[in-house]
Amino acid sequence: MEENRTVPLNTRILTRIQFKNRFTFRKHFGLGQIGAYILLIFWTFTTIYPLIWILINSFKTTNEIVKNSFNLPSSFNMTNYMNAFQKMGIGRSYLNSLIISGSTVLLVVLFGGMAAFIMARFDFKLKKFIYTLFLGSLMFPAFATIVPVFTMLRKAQLINKHIGLILPQTAGNLAFAIIILTGFMMSIPIELEEAAVVEGAAPWQVYVRIVVPISKPSFATVSIFTFLWSYNDLFMPLIILRNKDVQPINVLLSHISSQYGTDYGLMAAAVAIIIVPVLIVYFSAQKYIIKGLTAGAIKG
């Protein structure tokens, strides 16, 4: 093999599977393979079974659960779910979660995209400093900032209002978004934009008409991550949104064990309710999630 051979990945002579088939010494499923599969399936089991267990139990009454938590429910009892929606006002929290997370995603995509465009295509004096600012903002845990943020919001009378949570959450997610989007935009061939500039387009037009549509996959990844992170955040909503009417579903859930601690069926249903939408989003979008994460993670 010559030392300087550079073979682009997609013209590699053997694909990974072909390589494995050729160079693994057993042509059939040997002992090593079986052991590997056993371990992997075992972990699959430990990953999935708790979720299934919760789902099964959400259809049982608390008494049934106490007696035996492993059986399939005798009937698909919807009492727990009805309780959840009525007693706990889960419907309302869902709406709140949607409003908060949706708005955060919108702001992050809007502002992050614009900033990424500049970072990817322009050179200017303070560029390195600003990039460090963006990178540095990843360092701050919510604890370090929450108290002054709370004070600020209180002075501006934004406590217990959706926007009071949306703004800090946007701040927390912008750095991640900008870094991912900048990386992506830098990899777009510049010829398309050049052509547009030659025809007299202003930069913002080039951004809106060319860069944004091409960057859709990256925007998709960023949106999904931002939505997940915002939807799952507990700490900030707990502090900023004290009024039950505006609490997202996470916060409601954290109160449930103190309020309804002994109604196990209700608790199982509540967990199922909060998890199911996330699962749906995940299974439909998992391609983007995993791809987007690894692209960003390896680079830095």
Partner: protein
């Protein structure tokens, strides 16, 4: 590649992001740091006490517990979370089919919120009808209380670890997949397979990524809050109190904002220090391919 002549857009497009980040991240952190030198109840009473809060850090018994717990959790996380992820990633690399399926499944817990997972495990640990005691019943054993002063830390560690194994797994498996196959060919022709191949070839080649995972896991442990808060609220008697939960208690339950800010500063400082130490300790040559 300067193709854009108009410079006005720079300020226009950067301003919103910079303003939001400055206002809600940098400014508050500076304020936190400033206020850590005060006695502050969050409202009007604010008395400068210099290093008083920091001195209190030294004598506070709970802080010692929280720090010990946090570091214990860190070690458990390094060994079991990153460790399991590495094991799974390496094993996955050796099988011929089904890789995609396992990737999708293992990543699943991460999209679920820590709160939901906390509640889920609370149900699992329950005395009456919990999953674990149910298993004991099936084996003919008596139910036991799973969360006691001795076991609380472990009880919280298990879901914490379980939650994010998939995250590091996906990062590691991607890194492994990027290793060019030529690097393996000569090894295979020499007859090196299986465990030795893993130890001597695969792991050194992804060492940089393993470092990244370790730093992420460590700093993540410093910030842990949602899970312990939901399962045990730091009890019983501080057995599962971590830096994150303690900061929350001090600030919002006890309303001692100045001291809470001090703890926050401690968390950030620890994070920076430990990350640099880990990076220095695990230094290796840059391998690029």
């Amino acid at each position: 590649m300067q193709i854009y002549k108009d410079k006005k857009i720079i300020v226009l497009f950067l301003a919103p992001s910079l303003i939001i980040i400055g206002l809600f991240l940098y400014y508050p952190f500076a304020m936190s740091f400033y206020k850590s030198f005060f006695n502050w109840d969050g409202f009007l009473t604010s008395k400068f006490i210099g290093l008083g809060n920091y001195r209190r850090l030294f004598s506070d018994v709970m802080i010692h517990k929280a720090i010990i717990n946090t570091f214990t959790l860190m070690i458990l996380v390094i060994i079991f979370q990153v460790g399991t992820a590495l094991l799974l990633a390496v094993v996955l690399d050796s099988i011929k089919a089904g890789a995609k399926f396992f990737r999708v499944v293992y990543f699943l817990p991460i999209v679920i919120s820590a709160t939901a997972i906390g509640l889920m495990f609370k149900l699992i640990y329950m005395y009456d009808g919990g999953l674990l005691n149910g298993i004991r019943a099936l084996m003919g054993l008596e139910p036991i209380v799973w969360i006691t002063e001795k076991t609380a830390l472990l009880a919280v560690a298990v879901p914490t670890i379980w939650h994010y194994v998939g995250f590091y797994f996906v990062i590691l498996i991607t890194a492994i997949n990027r290793i060019p196959l030529d690097l393996y060919e000569s090894a295979y022709l020499d007859g090196i397979t299986g465990v030795s191949k893993t130890i001597y070839i695969t792991i050194p080649l992804i060492w940089d990524i393993i470092k990244v995972c370790l730093v992420l896991a460590i700093t993540g442990t410093l910030k842990v809050f949602d899970l312990p808060y939901v399962i045990t609220q730091g009890g019983p008697f501080g057995a599962s109190e971590f830096l994150g939960t303690y900061m929350n208690t001090k600030t919002f339950t006890d309303q001692v904002f100045g001291y809470g800010a001090t703890i926050a500063v401690l968390i950030v400082v620890l994070g920076v220090v430990i990350s640099s130490i880990v990076n220095k300790l695990l230094k290796s040559e840059e391998i690029t391919f």
